[in-house]
Subunit: 334 residues, 2 copies
DNA sequence: TGCCATTAGTAAATCGTTTTACAGAACAAT
DNA sequence: ATTGTTCTGTAAAACGATTTACTAATGGCA
């Protein structure tokens, strides 16, 4: 019942194991007839090269590790899906781990990933700071940090969007539409993107003469809805809300629905990130749309460049992309 | 710059490599002071066992492979997230591949997965039939097939829900609420779950005196919205729609929004599966909720049982779970 | 004391590949 | 005929862990 090894194939084809290896790796030329014989034998036995063995001997590993805070958030899922695609077409496999947004889990998941000795690592950390075990990788393994990173003090290549500008754009748009009392529904201000979006929006609105309030809703939908709900019950309503993430936007919608507050008619809404469900509504949501495919693509290209050119000691490079305002129907002109 | 190996640790700690191995694997007792010395040395060098080497030698592989049709569908993402969790707590790693709902990709992704010689495979195929390379695994590697499988002719353990009953329940509920003209918005009738849901609902409604129509919208949101849209433009409207998947439901909502048709007031709606956004609306959606966590848990338990008890030749076992009706506000009582 | 059982360690074999170092054959150019 | 070069192929070493088989030391018990 054991799987056939390269020796079995070699024996059946009447050649040495080196030749079999050469047939499949293509690193040395092999006569066509021999090639056929080897391929035939492999086929017949159902031979598949053992990755562990080949990785061990060759010291190269066609694997990249990917760490995300959460697999069920479509934003991260899309990034992974893109990465998986590109990796596959480059002959790499991907191993994925989720930190479930917990620092302790993060640390141990990273260690598990590293035991694979991956050729590279693409990581979206759950907090703004770089986990110890990743920092240790400096000069050893190519690393690209994505999304939840502060660009300035990062030791590695980074791919982010200009979250401050994203906040500014939303603030400008809402102000232009006449909104002067705006609530920023943030998730967690410890996350650099959230902090920056908040600052961008806040400063802009205040500068343009409006007033801005910030509320941290956390990353749990229900809880966020409750927090916002009781805030709404005890405060004068804003004319517009800026929902900084998928989940906060859902919290906002939930709290509003519970109180029969209508989107647009009663309170305008701008969401961050663009999910399918945001358009599939009678009042489709105006959003700051992140270029998620580009983010993934950029991260992959950075990583592959590091891996293949061995540009290990070169300066870290930070790529900053931009979110774009997509106007739909959730913002009322006052 | 090379990573330290077990030899380096052994040398630094002044012991043999066997002892180092024993310290970390715990397979043989080691004196406490030696243990400390070894651990210290490992720490100092930043030693991490090379998985490839240990897998190769020990012939066991703490890896399970997971194949899904799509990573960005939250349903599959949740399953993966659950699996990843359980795997991790059992000391396994997970490698994930997506077939992107294409048969040719599926085949090659499976082969890539299998080169890892995983301890087991959990697969959600993209069509109802079992891919060749999975069929070959019979008697070799434990396999659990999930969701898109026809239970009868499957060679492997299966975990599914009773999709026929799911359709029946939706049909009964809608009929009870007085709906007699129902449109079933299906995605792709080749998928066994979809076929079964459709049949269950169709037969029930007809039996209870209503009329049912079936429309296949495919798995692209926009396209589905167009198909449904032109159908709505050219046919007498149903009083209720049963959306069989996440995406079809989004297509339905899009087509309705485009035409200013109100959910519930104009056309009632029952969705299949339960996503966060379905509740975060003023008219929250009534749904058939799949026990997604249970599905993942059951699949994992089956797989682990096969892996650990080596019950390779035992009869395949099929676990059938149930979806539950969650009543919310999208269905009008006529 | 003598004998057996248990414990704690090591040297060396091993897993399935890839790679190195070498060799014979064929052919071209001198 | 000699030399060099290119092509194909092989035997054996190597990768870094685990496991086997063996030894030495310790302790318990008659």
């Amino acid at each position: 019942m054991k799987k056939p090894s390269i020796k079995d194939v070699a024996k059946l084809a009447g050649v040495s194991t080196a030749t079999v290896s050469n047939v499949f790796s293509g690193r040395k030329a092999v006569n066509d007839d021999l090639k056929d014989r080897v391929r035939g034998a492999a086929q017949q036995l159902g031979y598949q090269a053992n990755r562990a063995a080949s990785q061990l001997r060759s010291q190269r590993n066609q694997v990249v590790a990917v760490l995300v805070p959460n697999l069920t958030d479509t934003f991260f899922a899309k990034i992974i899906s893109n990465l998986e695609n590109m990796a596959f077409s480059h002959g790499y496999d991907v191993i994925v781990a989720s930190s479930h947004d917990r620092l302790d889990v993060e640390e141990s998941r990273i260690n598990a990933l590293l035991r694979w000795q991956p050729a590279g690592l693409i990581a979206i950390p759950c907090s703004g700071s770089i986990p110890k075990s990743i920092a240790n990788l400096k000069d050893t393994t190519p690393v690209v940090m994505v999304d939840r990173v502060s660009v300035e003090d990062c030791l590695f290549d980074t791919v982010t969007i200009d979250n401050f500008k994203s906040g500014v754009d939303a603030g400008v748009f809402l102000s232009q539409q006449g909104h002067e009392k705006i609530l920023i529904a943030a998730s967690n201000l410890d996350h650099p993107p959230i902090k920056n979006r908040t600052q961008g929006c806040f400063e802009t609105v205040e500068q343009l003469g409006g007033r801005c309030e910030v509320l941290a809703l956390g990353s749990d939908l229900e809880e966020g809805a409750n927090v916002l709900g009781s805030w709404l019950d005890n405060n004068e309503h804003p004319t517009a809300i800026f929902g900084l993430t998928n989940v906060t936007t859902l919290s906002v919608l939930t709290a509003m629905a519970d109180r029969n507050i209508r989107v647009c008619d009663d309170i305008s809404l701008v969401a961050h990130d663009d999910y399918a469900w945001m358009s599939a509504r009678s009042t489709s949501l105006t959003v700051m749309q992140q270029p998620v495919d580009d983010i993934a693509k950029t991260a992959w290209n950075r990583l592959i460049a590091r891996i293949e050119s061995k540009e290990v000691n070169q300066e870290p490079q930070s790529s900053v992309l931009e979110a774009h305002l997509v106007k739909r129907k959730s913002v009322k002109k006052l």
